[in-house]
């Protein structure tokens, strides 16, 4: 099994998804419109509201909201990514082919990320061209933080997918992580506006470090400036990603052993 062969497989997973996706034309249009209107409405809110505490993040509310919304797309995509590969009808067919688990997961998720990148571009374009959002992108920092955020959330996604393979009826991980992101993730409001008891929780969720650091690197901060938060994010990723892989592999093996792989 060569690397070229595996890349070829990943390409065809992606091609399959693009071809399927492109047949849902209304859905594509609605996704673009919802990104566009989402960005517009939050940008209006940002332009007309004040949140003093944002001085901590060296940014205005519009920029804060646009970045939060845009990059939340990536995290949402990552969080449901592995679950979406568990198509009961095709899972067995893929698993009887000589294709490894990593190729399968990467291949099945690539198109989702490319599409999400497009959606992020819409959010940022609305912010920049319609509301004068000014970004000063630290490219290396951005790539690093995004990669860490995605990897951490893929870890969560694998745990959720593993539970889904066993329970067949929704997983609590996705729900808990989505709630945690919205409440404590520093997506649409900073944790500083919350009471002390709740604010503390933010420091234990990786989303907080992701959104804090991504805002910093998109507004010109150096890696050195974000190092403490970045190190915490790296540590969390180093725990969650392998844990997710182990959990997913274990659940898959258990479902195979029990013969319930395609029971959905």
């Amino acid at each position: 099994m060569t690397l070229l062969q595996e890349l070829d497989k990943i390409y065809f997973f992606m091609k399959r998804d693009i071809l399927s996706f492109s047949t849902y034309k209304t859905n594509i249009l609605l996704s673009i419109l919802s990104a566009l209107f989402g960005a517009l409405s939050y940008a209006f809110l940002g332009a007309n509201a004040k949140m003093q505490v944002l001085e901590t993040y060296h940014t205005d509310l519009t920029t804060y909201l646009i970045i939060g919304l845009a990059f939340n797309t990536y995290l949402s995509q990552s969080l449901t990514l592995v679950q979406r590969t568990i198509n009961p009808w095709s899972l067995e067919e893929v698993l009887v082919s000589p294709t490894g688990l990593v190729t399968f997961i990467v291949g099945s998720s690539l198109w989702g990320f490319i599409w999400s990148t497009g959606v992020i571009a819409i959010y940022l374009a609305v912010g920049i061209f319609a509301f004068g959002v000014v970004l000063s992108v630290n490219i290396i920092g951005t790539v690093l933080v995004v990669a860490l955020g995605i990897a951490t959330f893929i870890g969560f996604s694998m745990i959720g997918a593993g539970i889904l393979i066993l329970t067949k009826q929704g997983d609590p991980v996705t729900t808990v992580i989505t709630i945690a992101t919205n409440l404590f993730g520093n997506v649409l409001f900073p944790p500083q506006v919350m009471p002390e008891a709740l604010r503390v929780i933010s420091y234990f969720v990786p989303q907080y470090y992701f959104f804090t650091t991504i805002r910093e690197v998109l507004t010109g901060s150096s890696l050195q400036a974000i190092l403490p938060d970045l190190l915490i994010l790296i540590a969390m990723c180093a725990i969650i990603l392998p844990l997710g892989y182990l959990a997913y592999s274990w659940c898959l093996r258990t479902a195979k052993k029990n013969g319930t792989l395609s029971w959905f």
């Binding site: 099994m1 070829d8 065809f12 698993l95 009887v96 082919s97 029990n258 013969g259």
Partner: protein
């Protein structure tokens, strides 16, 4: 275990047990109460050897363990006990090698296809993940589509295909990597007579005879197995209860033991009484004409000497015989004799 170059598939003492939850309506269970579990041994200490190039039929009723066996052989299910090798590779320890040696069709024809893509695009995806080399991929896809008679429909969307076309595409998918071994789990289920026959002929003539593939063909259609397979194994409750050529299995039922009788005005109670007669090994009854009260009975008798006692029964019960003939035994008769029931029961 036997030398693997002679045999494409070998199982030794292979066992797979499932635990399923029982939910009877009378047993009220709440979130906190434990449900009763039932253990089912789907494959029970199975020993099987399939020769290279053989078209091997595996016959059994629903739930006999055929699909479980196929899933173990294609690495989707790990065995609980025993070993299985495919193309000389252990299904538990050498999964990638096994996967590279097989093509599979599962009992649901459209399984795994992407309905909004064309047949060609579907095969292109499966060719890639099955390591069909990129440079010859297009040619190979068209070759297999041609083989199964789907070349003309290659660029139509999958969801427009008929049931037969979907099955043919599944067969084309299994053939893509040109594997030496094919595991075909009920490949004609749900197809019309003509499509079924076309697929059977293709499997026998092109895949088995011309290409020399080893084919494990599971079915619960007895005549299918009888028509195309070199050898047939009958599986019941996870075990092989017979294994031989179709002719040899048929010959286990002697000529004259199978009778076909058309009678008039026979009640259900009388049919049940006849079933209980010692000389009658099995009996299948169907109403031939409800208006005139004709019922057709197909029976297998204990032996030819049972005939006079059978006629005695009809005479005493005052049942009129319209037609009577002794039949050539079929594989179904052998199956009923071995399992004690019809295949659909």
């Amino acid at each position: 275990m036997t030398a693997t170059n002679e045999y494409a598939i070998v199982t030794s003492n292979l066992t797979k047990t499932y635990t399923s939850k029982i939910r009877r309506p009378e047993q009220r269970t709440s979130f906190f109460t434990r449900r009763n579990n039932r253990t089912v041994t789907a494959v029970n200490h199975l020993n099987l050897e399939i020769r290279r190039g053989e078209l091997f039929g595996l016959l059994g009723r629903n739930g006999a363990g055929k699909t479980t066996l196929v899933k173990i052989l294609c690495t989707l299910l790990p065995p609980d006990e025993g070993t299985a090798s495919v193309n000389g590779f252990d299904v538990a320890k050498q999964q990638m090698k096994v996967k590279q040696s097989i093509g599979t069709i599962f009992s649901v024809g459209e399984r795994g296809f992407f309905w909004r893509l064309t047949g060609y695009s579907n095969l292109e995806f499966y060719a890639a993940i099955n390591n069909v080399p990129r440079h010859g991929r297009q040619k190979r896809i068209m070759e297999v589509l041609d083989l199964v008679g789907m070349k003309e429909n290659a660029f139509e969307v999958f969801q427009k295909y008929s049931g037969g076309m979907k099955r043919k595409l599944a067969l084309a998918r299994a053939l893509l990597p040109d594997p030496p071994i094919l595991l075909l789990d009920e490949p004609t289920t749900g197809l019309d007579v003509v499509s079924s026959r076309n697929i059977r002929e293709f499997i026998r003539n092109d895949l088995s005879r011309k290409a020399g593939k080893t084919v494990l063909y599971t079915t619960h259609y007895i005549e299918e197995a009888s028509q195309i397979c070199d050898r047939v194994a009958i599986m019941n409750k996870g075990q092989l209860i017979a294994l031989d050529t179709p002719d040899a299995l048929r010959s286990r039922v002697k000529k004259g033991e199978v009778v076909d009788v058309v009678v008039k005005n026979m009640t259900d109670a009388q049919i049940n009484t006849l079933r209980g007669v010692d000389d009658v090994v099995s009996l299948a009854a169907e109403i031939q004409d409800a208006v005139s009260g004709k019922t057709r009975l197909r029976m297998r008798l204990e032996n030819v000497d049972s005939l006079p006692r059978l006629f005695d029964f009809f005479f005493k019960e005052k049942i009129k015989i319209i037609n009577f003939k002794q039949e050539e035994p079929t594989l179904e008769d052998a199956f009923i004799g071995l399992t004690g029931a019809g295949i659909s029961e």
